[in-house]
């Protein structure tokens, strides 16, 4: 290797340079705190709006992600109940659970009724609110009389003196109608919630996992313990059925599955690669050196990416695995040539290596222009990782494993100490092929790909990435059926500068939702403002009621003066009609306690209302306030974007859809940028090798990528983000094969062996991932398997005859 002035770079200088570059990159990384990012939302495009919503959504999710529900069922209610009681007694009070819930507090209904009675002038639903605000006395009276004289009214008439218009009942009714329990199929029996399905009575047990509980499975994980207890209960009580629901069950199940899968896939592939390398090199030194190269490359890349971005996304690590493939390839080339007796390996392989390195780097540099931080992160990670691997092979390996005498001995055409039988057979097959035969094969190959490419669907759907096992799927379906909420994956996050601003925004939104409900576009929705109206609406209700009964008389005057002095004639007549002798109790209620419920200064709330607020009220995130409005039983015609139109503080959220769109967009952009980079690579190759040879070199990785796309099209598999990552890996690694063949010549057994070994290690390490049941990993593995296999088979055509 020479400097630009033509002087050779000696071993010592090489080591110093290697250490200096790595030290700078690593020290920079170590200077900032390390943070791993696994939030799928953070891959979305940079936008302040989305960022804020993302943070609010994250807060909302944090509350629901730890909830679990277990339904214990049996034909006999008593058996189901006693099993649920046993379950509760095992887990009650243990630190892994923040709380467990089986029994319903008998007093909760009375507490809730009392709370709404005390705030009856302010906490009203839309209909009563409008009556109060508009001063429609007759409507209010008619409503009350229907309750008083109606046959199936639940109104408590014992409080008529204090509440002659039964506003307390109206407020409580409004709460019940706007809470999740209004739709639920669960009811109470012997102090527990139960529901019946297909002749089986299910008793509900709920729990919230404590924050410290990991989502990754382990032998002593609380979910493992819970599963064990449920299995024991089933053994003890024949016919007992159990349905488990909640994110922790999915996390546990998928991480458990992933762990065992990773164990056997990585175990088998590592053993195979080690055996292969041992078979070829008959020494552990190349293996240790190769593994060290990979480790150093990943660490350096990680450190520098941390320095640039402040955090590293897990997807970056997935994408960055290309470093492993390329590092192995460079190292294998080095050691195959060395073992073959080449005295100055670096000089012998540098041209192919450098071109391979530059072309791959160019692809990654192109990705840094993408308007997605994740893609830029992935590109920087790969650029640095590849640089590290390249420098390790060309500077460090050269210094450590070679005599730097500068003499280059030609390798023997058939080195005796290397297994060249397979490369020989492989090369013979190609050499026997006539020129027209090769052209015919390539033409047929391209023609065969076209229909597949036409069928290709470039789309990412993370919904397909995780498949529940049948038991969990059935459990979720049953729980969803019995809860009967029909929660839509699309919901709204409402933003405001303070708590009241959020409620006011919600009210604008819920007015539109109420219209949509009337049009049959959705069955219902959950919103805090349905229960706790904005300050302005609470004031309107309160003042409206007072004005209806006392006209414009000031509150102080009403309270101080004797009863009956100021009530309007309409009000007085009504009181007489229902037997209320005077309005002293009403007057007393005005002065009794604060009738308002402000979100910035909440009074003690009953448990039922607290639960609802926990579900919907996000609170302060950053310098703003947020709440969620959840849609229930939404029809296909419902258009959330249209509902939120012209409401800038209302954000439509469909996490899965947003991520899918972002990943699909990233996929498209990646393909365009890599295509552009390959055009530049092609121009460089034309400059180095002339047009014809440049086409020969570049066609191998390009055709291999088209082959992957074509096969995905034929197999009707979505060409998703992870498949595209696989294709980019193919382009990065595949061009090296073509270049090495071009440099080494088709008759060079050493080059062929090195490429064979490289492709075998890549196929074993990445191709084995195609066996994974985890869809993203499977897709990535399949794309690499197809791409590298194809590239390996086409690359020999790049060599000069």
């Amino acid at each position: 290797m020479k400097f630009f002035n033509g002087r050779r770079l000696n071993a010592k200088t090489g080591i110093i340079l290697w250490v200096a570059i790595h030290a700078i990159l690593i020290v920079l990384g170590l200077s900032v705190p390390w943070k791993m990012d696994s939030d799928l939302y953070s891959i979305l495009p940079d936008s302040n709006e989305i960022k804020n919503v993302s943070a609010a959504e994250k807060t909302l999710s944090a509350c629901t992600m730890r909830n679990i529900t277990v339904l214990v069922g049996h034909e006999n209610f008593d058996v189901a109940r006693s099993a649920a009681v046993a379950l509760d007694s095992v887990f009650k009070g243990i630190s892994s659970f923040e709380e467990t819930r089986l029994f319903v507090n008998e007093k909760s209904m009375d507490e809730t009724r009392e709370f709404f009675f005390n705030h009856r002038y302010t906490l009203q639903g839309r209909n009563v609110r409008e009556i109060l605000a508009s001063g429609d006395f007759d409507a209010l009276k008619k409503r009350a009389l229907q309750k008083i004289y109606g046959s199936f009214s639940t109104a408590n008439l014992n409080h008529l003196d204090e509440d002659p218009f039964l506003l307390g009942d109206a407020a409580f009714e409004n709460f019940v109608q706007n809470s999740p329990m209004a739709m639920s199929r669960f009811s109470i029996r012997e102090g527990v919630l139960y529901a019946v399905d297909s002749g089986v009575t299910y008793v509900m047990w709920n729990a919230v996992l404590s924050e410290k509980v990991s989502s990754i499975s382990s032998g002593d994980h609380i979910i493992a313990r819970l599963n064990h207890v449920l299995d024991s209960l089933k053994k003890v009580q024949p016919g007992l059925l159990v349905a488990k629901s909640g994110v922790p069950f999915h996390s546990y199940e998928s991480s458990d599955r992933a762990k065992s899968e990773i164990a056997w896939i990585s175990g088998v592939s590592i053993v195979l690669i080690l055996l292969l390398l041992l078979y070829v090199f008959r020494s552990t030194i190349p293996i240790v050196a190769t593994l060290s190269t990979i480790a150093i490359a990943i660490f350096t890349a990680l450190a520098f990416t941390w320095f640039i971005f402040g955090k590293v996304h897990v997807f970056t690590l997935v994408f960055g695995t290309s470093i492993i493939g390329v590092s192995i390839d460079y190292a294998v080339h080095f050691f195959v040539h060395k073992k073959a007796g080449v005295r100055n390996v670096r000089s012998s392989i540098i041209k192919g290596l450098l071109l391979g390195f530059l072309t791959t780097e160019l692809s990654y540099i192109a990705l840094t222009f993408a308007d997605f931080s994740l893609l830029r992160q992935m590109a920087v990670f790969s650029i640095v990782g590849l640089l590290s691997a390249f420098l390790t092979i060309t500077l460090l390996f050269h210094a450590v494993f070679e005599n730097a005498d500068g003499l280059k001995n030609a390798a023997k055409s058939e080195p005796q100490n290397l297994p060249t039988k397979f490369p020989k057979v492989f090369l013979d097959a190609y050499s026997k092929l006539p020129k027209w035969g090769a052209r015919l094969i390539l033409a047929l190959f391209i023609a065969a790909l076209l229909p597949g490419l036409k069928l290709l669907n470039v789309h990412t759907d993370i919904g397909n990435f995780y498949t529940m096992n049948d038991e969990i799927k059935a459990s979720e379906a049953l729980t969803s059926k019995l809860n009967n909420l029909g929660v839509s994956p699309t919901y709204f996050i409402v933003e405001g500068k303070d708590e009241n601003d959020v409620l006011e925004m919600e009210e604008k939104l819920t007015q539109r939702l109420a219209n949509a409900e009337n049009e049959g576009l959705l069955k219902s929705y959950l919103a805090v403002s349905n229960i706790i109206p904005s300050n302005e609406n609470q004031e309107k209700s309160y003042r409206g009621f007072r004005k209806m009964i006392y006209g414009n008389t000031g509150l102080l005057k009403i309270i101080i003066e004797k009863p009956g002095s100021y009530a309007t004639s309409k009000a007085s007549n009504y009181f007489t009609e229902i037997g209320v002798e005077n309005d002293s109790a009403i007057i007393a209620s005005f002065g009794k306690e604060n009738p308002f419920v402000w979100m910035n200064n909440l009074p003690d709330l009953p448990q039922s209302l607290n639960s609802l607020l926990r579900m919907l009220w996000i609170g302060k995130v950053g310098d703003k306030y947020y709440s969620a409005v959840i849609l229930l039983h939404v029809s296909d015609k419902f258009d959330a974007q249209k509902i939120a139109e012209d409401l800038p503080s209302v954000h439509v959220v469909n996490k899965m859809q947003n991520i899918n769109n972002a990943l699909t967009k990233i996929s498209h952009i990646s393909l365009v940028l890599v295509g552009a980079a390959y055009s530049v690579v092609f121009l460089i190759l034309v400059a180095v090798y002339k047009f014809k040879d440049a086409v020969r070199i570049i066609r191998a990785p390009v055709l291999a990528s088209l082959f992957v796309a074509g096969v995905f099209g034929y197999m009707s598999i979505d060409f998703n983000f992870f498949a595209i990552v696989g294709v980019i890996l193919t382009l990065g690694i595949g061009i090296d094969y073509a270049l090495f063949f071009r440099e080494g010549g088709r008759q060079n057994l050493i080059t062929t062996l090195a490429i064979m070994l490289s492709s075998m290690t890549t196929l074993i390490s990445f191709g084995s991932l195609a066996c994974s049941a985890f869809v993203p990993v499977h897709t990535f593995g399949l794309a690499v398997l197809l791409g590298i296999s194809c590239c390996f088979l086409i690359s020999p055509f790049s060599a000069k005859r």
Partner: protein, 215 residues
């Protein structure tokens, strides 16, 4: 959820008819011996396809010594459900059918109180079937049942099993002679609501024997 449960209890009672609220019926829990007797008596008064008539409802607020009296009509069809119309002093209508429970006010505005997939509605439907066929055992899963034989007919008492339900409905007393004559529902605050049934008309199997009855 629970506030709607009393609709169930009320309707349940209506199906039985009415009687004078007699506290001493609660001294006579139904037992092995009296259960068949009650079932037989119940089947006898329920031996119709359609029953209709007028009702008079009296809500008594004892604390204030106040009474609220309303009148209206009812129709019970074993096949099509129940319609309950309060005519005076203010109109309201309640209908129970396969689609759920609906309410209509004097302005004609109607809304659903309980959908058909609501557990209370499911319970109600199930129990209506039990009442129509006189299955006391099924009734006992929800209530403690009391029974007292009278010279003409019987008195039946129901006390909800669930403590939370008892906070809304303390007990129900049903009195029947040839038909269901009177129902008294006492709420959690011991306030009774009495339903007197008048101009009882039945259509169905036993029509030839009992075409009409006035309690």
């Amino acid at each position: 959820m629970l506030f709607k449960r009393n609709i169930f209890v009320l309707l349940l009672c209506v199906i039985y008819g009415c009687g004078v609220a007699m506290a001493d019926v609660f001294d006579h829990p139904v037992n092995k011996k009296t259960k068949p007797e009650l079932e037989k008596a119940l089947a006898k008064v329920m031996n119709y396809e359609v029953a209709s008539g007028d009702f008079k409802q009296t809500k008594s607020i004892k604390k204030r010594n106040r009474k609220f009296v309303s009148t209206g009509t009812f129709m019970i069809s074993k096949k099509n459900g129940i319609i309950w119309k309060t005519q005076k002093p203010i109109f309201s209508e309640l209908a129970l059918n396969n689609g759920g429970i609906f309410e209509r006010d004097s302005s004609g505005q109607s809304h659903m109180l309980l959908p058909k997939d609501n557990p209370i509605f499911a319970d109600l439907s199930k129990n209506i079937q039990s009442f129509f066929s006189g299955k006391i055992s099924e009734l006992e899963t929800k209530f403690q049942v009391f029974y007292e034989k009278k010279s003409c007919g019987f008195i039946m008492g129901l006390v909800p099993q669930e403590a939370m339900v008892r906070m809304v409905i303390d007990n129900v007393v049903i009195e029947a002679c040839k038909n269901i004559d009177k129902v008294t529902i006492t709420d959690g605050e011991k306030t009774p609501v009495m339903l007197d049934f008048l101009n009882y008309k039945i259509v169905g199997k036993a029509m030839q024997n009992r075409t009409s009855s006035v309690p």
